[in-house]
């Protein structure tokens, strides 16, 4: 906002900021029980959240877990303080839900399998034309530890220290898993 004449304000607003403000308002309304405001938030973010779940856990449980993310968001929305964008808050909540469900689903077992065999197994499938995978499918075939780190770092933009904190590992392991994932996936992008 800038003042051009005493007492007369001209509002200049960044469209992205306006969208964030509208989401903050919807979050406030949802916190007081407004289901329509919460549905607007759902419509805005469902694609990103569902894609995150699908990439982290796989397609089989994606609908169930994505739904759970939004149910959890509804119950916890009063803790959203507007310090970050609502999408950032929701995304972090989603990661927590996913990691908790991962334990239930048993996918945590062996997720930090660094062995060449585990990673080569992913690449080997791509070598056969009839089993050619698209990039998303190739991500899905990574060992779960490498997949989680790759999704969180290269797709979602988290830093290694944040990932280490979320996954309960050291940053060095996060870096190592990321490199293994990239080295495996590069084979899928070769002509």
């Amino acid at each position: 906002m800038e003042l051009t004449t005493p007492g007369v304000a001209t509002l200049r607003r960044d469209p992205d900021q306006a969208a964030r403000d509208a989401e903050t308002a919807d979050a406030a309304l949802a916190a007081s029980g407004d289901g329509r405001a919460f549905e607007r938030l759902y419509r805005t973010h469902v694609n990103r959240i569902h894609s995150l779940v699908r990439r982290m856990i796989g397609p089989d449980h994606a609908d169930d877990i994505a739904q759970d993310v939004f149910v959890r968001a509804w119950t916890k929305i009063s803790t959203f303080r507007g310090e970050a964008a609502f999408g950032t808050w929701l995304h972090r909540l989603a990661v927590n839900v996913i990691l908790a469900r991962r334990t239930t689903l048993g996918t945590e077992r062996g997720r930090y399998d660094d062995s060449e065999a585990a990673l080569d197994g992913v690449a080997g499938r791509a070598a056969a034309p009839e089993l050619s995978l698209d990039f998303e499918e190739a991500i899905g075939r990574l060992p779960s530890g490498a997949r989680e780190v790759f999704v969180l770092h290269d797709i979602e933009g988290y830093r290694h220290d944040e990932i280490a904190d979320m996954l309960g590992i050291v940053p060095g392991t996060s870096k190592s898993q990321l490199h293994h994932a990239r080295m495996t996936l590069r084979k899928h992008l070769r002509e």
Binding site: A19, A31, S32, G33, G35, N47, F70, H179, R182, M183
Partner: protein, 225 residues
């Protein structure tokens, strides 16, 4: 072919190598085509990852979510009453308080001043009939749960009014008047510009302020009983 640098290429790509290691690796690139090629391939992987599109679920998840959280579904009157009672739980009132703390500020005063020149947007048409409803306005103003919360708090305040001293009642009424005027102004302005994100935010902010003021006043009245 792997050499001692192969496993450091991602760190190089991400700018995480120490300066002396980065210089050494860059010197290595001049004589190692395999590392240069691998680095290019890793770059493509990262670029591909960042270009991935988010895809929607194959079925709309909202009906299931709405059912679980108790919104947007057809419910019995008894269930609605239960929901309304639930809407007065401490966490939700605390949520309203948080929202007010987040959203209240100088904007209301600014907008009130600004609306002084344009808030004459008519609430009725020239013929005297009601103005057409506007989606954004009715989204908030027509919210039955919000109206129910306000009405319940107003009743609670009215019941405890006698326990408050005159000066407190005066302050509460004065502030409620200011907030009500801000709400009316925002609704009028939104009738003329329904897509205005700032006005929508402002309206939500004022409605939250009203809810919080009523809550505090009702609590105050109850606390002195």
């Amino acid at each position: 072919m792997k050499d001692r640098w192969t496993d450091r290429l991602s760190e190089y790509l991400d700018g995480e190598l120490a300066p002396n290691e980065r210089i050494a690796l860059e010197a290595h690139f001049s004589e190692c085509g395999a590392c240069r090629q691998t680095l290019d391939e890793l770059r493509r992987v990262v670029a591909r990852a960042q270009a991935l599109d988010d895809r929607p679920p194959t079925t709309d998840l909202w009906p299931g979510i709405a059912r679980q959280v108790g919104v947007g579904a057809v419910v019995s009157l008894g269930a609605r009453r239960a929901q309304r009672r639930l809407s007065f739980t401490v966490p939700q009132l605390a949520a309203a308080a948080v929202a007010v703390a987040l959203l209240s500020g100088g904007g209301a005063a600014w907008l009130l001043g600004r609306r002084g020149t344009v808030a004459a947007a008519p609430s009725t048409t020239a013929g005297g009939s009601p103005a057409p409803s506007v989606a954004n306005v009715t989204d908030y103003a027509g919210d039955a749960r919000y109206a129910a919360q306000v009405a319940d708090l107003e009743r609670a305040l009215e019941r405890g009014r006698g326990r408050l001293d005159t000066a407190t009642v005066h302050v509460i009424e004065k502030n409620l008047g200011i907030i009500n005027r801000a709400i009316r102004d925002a609704q009028s302005a939104l009738a003329a510009d329904p897509a205005n994100a700032y006005l929508n935010l402002h309206l939500a902010r004022e409605m939250r302020r009203k809810l919080e003021l009523l809550r505090q006043a009702a609590t105050l009245a109850g606390a002195r009983s």
